[in-house]
């Protein structure tokens, strides 16, 4: 039985439709991603799952319950890591964990041990007594995640978990999330980072303008919507558009972005050789494997990060 089930889930703010009739299911233990640009409706969907945003229409169950009708009960099994850290700045790091646990109705004795355990998990043991404002962005993020685990949730909702983190901090975080997944925690992750989605998600839906435009595993989506390799060439921003005509027909598909041209082909090196044989000398060139970024570009005609 799926742990989350959404059918025609819709959320309107006045005239604006943030989430436009999406349907999806999440299986227990699965790592499920909502991928899309900012403003696609991912965070709103997350908030509806937690019962803190009321849906306009459609149905939604989390662990068999309607979060709008049994919010506190649903959230007893959820860990929420919001996009913007909502740490309590009037409390110290360790107290944040304890007070948050008290909100769940957990006993103080349990929380004393649990808080130390979570601080260690988040590599913040030395920062136990630090004020929240004295923590770095990465530390705050890890503390927020640790806080979301205080009730040992069955489902962890992570809204843009690594936005604003440096690469090292991201990898630490990914490692922690893998461990949770191994323990059987269901992860629901929103992200606009393709590499993150590829690393973390078993399955994902691509959302644009509040609608699901594709669904599948990262590999399957790449297979379906892109070629194996991509050649990126730059001729300088003034000439990129003009070069499109010259390059047309050489690749399966071609995308002209303001700063570069993407050529989709099975054999990237071969294509690049062809290009130089024709005497079209790009300023820079790069051959890489297709990613979810390319899938998104194909599906929406736009890149994810503007």
């Amino acid at each position: 039985m799926p742990v989350i089930q959404a059918q025609n889930l819709t959320k309107k703010f006045g005239d604006f439709t943030a989430v436009d009739g999406i349907s999806f299911e999440v299986a227990p233990g699965e790592s499920f991603g909502l991928l899309g640009p900012n403003g696609a409706g991912k965070s709103t969907t997350m908030r509806m799952i937690g019962g803190t945003s009321l849906r306009t229409s459609g149905s939604l169950t989390v662990l068999g319950l309607d979060p709008e009708e049994r919010g506190p009960e649903v959230r007893a099994s959820l860990g929420v890591v919001p996009q913007q850290d909502s740490l309590d700045e009037e409390l110290r790091a360790r107290d944040n964990l304890i007070v948050y646990g008290r909100y769940f109705g957990l006993p103080r004795a349990y929380l004393e041990t649990k808080a130390d355990e979570l601080l260690e998990f988040a590599q913040l043991t030395e920062k136990a007594k630090a004020k929240v404002n004295a923590l770095s962005g990465g530390m705050k993020r890890r503390l927020t995640i640790a806080r979301g685990l205080v009730n040992e949730p069955r489902i962890l909702l992570l809204d843009e978990p690594t936005t604003g983190l440096d690469p090292q901090a991201r990898h630490i975080l990914w490692d922690r999330l893998f461990r949770l997944k191994e323990q059987g925690v269901t992860l629901v992750i929103t992200t606009h980072f393709m590499d993150e989605a590829e690393q973390l998600c078993d399955r994902l839906v691509v959302i644009d303008h509040g609608k699901i435009v594709a669904e599948g595993s990262p590999q399957a989506l790449i297979r379906e919507y892109s070629t194996r390799e991509v050649v990126e060439v730059r001729f300088g921003s003034a000439r990129n558009a003009a070069m499109e005509a010259e390059l047309r027909g050489m690749a399966e598909r071609i995308e002209v972005l303001p700063d570069r041209i993407l050529l989709y082909a099975r054999d990237g090196e071969g294509l690049l050789e062809q290009i130089s044989r024709r005497g079209l000398n790009p300023l820079t060139s790069l051959v890489r494997r297709s990613s979810l970024e390319d899938v998104f570009l194909r599906l929406t005609g736009r890149s994810l990060i503007d």
Partner: protein
Amino acid sequence: MSDVMAPVKERLANRPSWLAPLYAGNASAVIERGFRVIRNANWGVIATGFFEPVLYLLAMGVGMGALVGGVPGPDGREISYAMFIAPALLATSAMNGAIYDSVNNVFFKLRYSKVYEGMLQTSLGPMDVALGEIFMALFRGLLYAVGFLGVLGVMGLVTSWWALAMIPVALLIALGFASLGMAVTSFMKSFQQLDLVPMVLLPMFLFSSTLFPISVYPGWVQGVIQALPLWHGVELMRQLSIGFFSPMTLVHLSYFAGMTVLGITLVTFRLRKLFLR
């Protein structure tokens, strides 16, 4: 794996369906947070709310009072001007404290500091948060009332043991204003709208027989003032300060009981609008 949340979940599963989305029966966790914050907080910030009525009392009561001389008290006998305004200042400070907590603080925590957002990601419901916050507002009111009454005692401005009853009555006044204030906050969208609140409170403070009796007004103005809550608070406190009661005492008390019921009912209906988007 044993489920640490099992007892909580079982309790929540048995909630009646009308309460289930709103209330987890755990407002005490919000209160606990409040006390933890007070313990870490800067007492200076809390003390300012205490000094305001004391400063008014010194400036108006003692200073102006020297010019004014004696005024007729609730029972018709003459009392000093300081004795006349002291109970009114206590009622006003209960009102101001409650409004500050339930309007400005709640608005800030909702829109900017994300404290409530964090709370509502847990198994707390909006009603737990509202009850906990109203309790903390009353606790602050209690501190101010006790402190101010102490000052009055030291200055010899209370003449009856009934004055001790001013403390619970200050809490009742605070409760009425806090619950109504929170309901009003649920309609607020910007800081500009928040600025309207003092525009209502300041005239109410100035004209509700706080600094002079309402007998100076024509009848219809008196009627308007008597319909507003602060006048009832002021009159009630004034009666308690000298231990004089009349049938109006009951009217004043009922006014605040009614205001509290109305405020809490409104807040309950507006809770989802206030806390959930």
